[in-house]
């Protein structure tokens, strides 16, 4: 059973687009510098073509279901928000909020466990990073 599926056709197209963007970028470089990237883009494009051709022949249609992706993408969004918060409110508060939110979402019970983890973690990070290593958070 080949690991390729019809879905890889879309992947292949996306990759082509990305490669084209990279190639355009190489136009503005000195010729010496653009040699290696172009070589890689070339090999990459050939491999991509192989993949697309084989994907075309495939009968399987293992697709990513939206349902499956929902939770991870939600968490990813959460991480992005977390980082933005980090910039403005500081590490400890934003981390506390992030952990609170995630653990409630994951239905961690009982509640005191959540608080214990958050407090324990923040204390650990504070002692190690701020006090010992002088990192500014």
């Amino acid at each position: 059973m080949s690991p390729l599926t019809k879905q890889d056709l879309t992947v292949g197209v996306v990759i082509y687009t990305v490669l084209i963007w990279f190639f355009v970028q190489t136009q503005s470089m000195l010729s010496d510098s653009s040699l290696f990237p172009r070589l890689i883009i070339g090999i990459f494009a050939i491999l991509n073509t192989f993949m697309i051709i084989r994907a075309f022949k495939e009968k399987g249609s293992a697709k990513l279901s939206i349902q499956e992706l929902k939770m991870p993408l939600l968490i990813f969004l959460g991480i992005v928000v977390y980082v933005i918060m980090f910039r403005f409110i500081g590490y400890f508060i934003s981390t506390a909020i992030m952990m609170l939110g995630m653990m409630i979402l994951f239905k961690v019970k009982p509640f005191y466990k959540i608080v214990a983890v958050i407090l324990g973690y923040c204390m650990f990070v504070y002692v190690l990073f701020v006090m010992q290593l002088n990192v500014i958070l």
Binding site: S2, Y91, M98, M102, M103, L128
Partner: protein, 507 residues
Amino acid sequence: MIVQAIQLFFTPEVLIACIIGVIGGITVGALPGLSASMAVALLIPITFKMSPAAGLVLLVSVYTAAIYGGSITAVLIHTPGTPSSAATALDGYEMTKKGKGLKAIGIVTIASMLGGTFSALALLFIAPKLAQISLKFTSLEYFFIAVFGLTIIGSLAGKSMVKGLMSGMFGLLVGCIGLDIMNGTPRFTMGIINLESGISLVPAMIGMFSISQVLISVEEIRKGKTRILDEGVSGLQGKMIPTKAEFLKIFPTILRSSVIGTIVGILPGAGSDIGSWVSYNNAKQFSRTPEEFGNGSMEGIAAAEAANNAVTGGALIPLLTLGIPGSGVTAIMLGGLMIKGLVPGHKLFTESGNITYAIIIGFLVANILMGIIGLLIAKQVVKVSVVPMTILCPIIIGLSTVGAYAINNSIFDIYIMIVGGIIGYFMRKIGFATAPIILGLILGPLAEQNFRQSLVLSRGNMFGYFLSRPISIFLAVLVIISLFSPIIMKTFSKNTTESTPADTAKI
């Protein structure tokens, strides 16, 4: 002099430095984002107030212990604590999922200890000779070593060779981002100044390994599975210490990897990350069970960990004898040495001999101590794999973020981590292996720079230059063997899973 050195070592200040160094090093190494180089750099000001022997013993102890520590989290939560443990994460985590985390930690600890001790002995007894060997390697040799490392991509490809190679290409391309070192032109930097030095390796790695792992775990949480352990695995199995049979199987690997690691270490600029990959690849080629690699191979993690610790001792050799650091971390230590008035060179082994040998002894003891401490805490540490993912995931996110930030006090690095995370996640979902990207990122620039340097050094006559360098020829042969070994193995393998013969030929 050795007697004096031993006396010097057994003073309280130095002994304490050694112990604290090992414990601190293991801790820092285990935490994602905190690497050995960071730990050593931050400790240098602290060594100002210590005696030279104590200060340097602290640094070398932290160095080797941190390289070991990185493997702990690599094995247990698929989050290499240091770049040198990226190879360990592959097989180590697979073992943890099967409940064999304890055994994995045991193997990793023993391998690290043996590798480090081996290189410590090399440092103690044959340092000057090895240093001379390191001088025989220059740009062309480095180029071939880098290419050899890149041929590993084939074996890391996982189920689809084409996709694995494409991952590697992606890594190579991303490795080009930044200022071209040869002439200063920006490549793919889009005007962003933070990209001029390229994509920082550690945040990218944290993203691709840890964050993507969190996202994958989250899927499973949604499905109701809240633990790292696979279905059907009831709890932690097995003992920590490998059985006699297992040990006999992995011992040759450890020995070979220690040699490889020490050699990579003595090469200036080549560090534990390169050493672990080269050794992993080598172990796979020599293994009788290569199909295990990537699925929880004991040989694999033993190879990677023995090598990356062997690099630490190897790297100290050119540092102490020539003043040329053998790795990134030893580059930082050079400053620590010089501030104490310890100037590298033969004077270090004669005039300051007692201090120098005390440091080397300290390094040797640290490696052994690290193994002992590791084994003692292993049973406790491995319980991490039983902590529910619902709690682990937020902690990993928090830890990864602070780790990525702390390296350079840079929010930009966190962005890199996030981008790495989402790319890593999708790649894994659609069947692209992520390890080749890291390889491409590390080795691509190495290969390109050294090749272009070789062009200049060959003074216009590349062919003649190549033929005049026996080491290059040897390495080139190794590369060819490495390139064709997967093909040879596939053609001769009895259980081909490919549907058409055409697929086998079309790598």
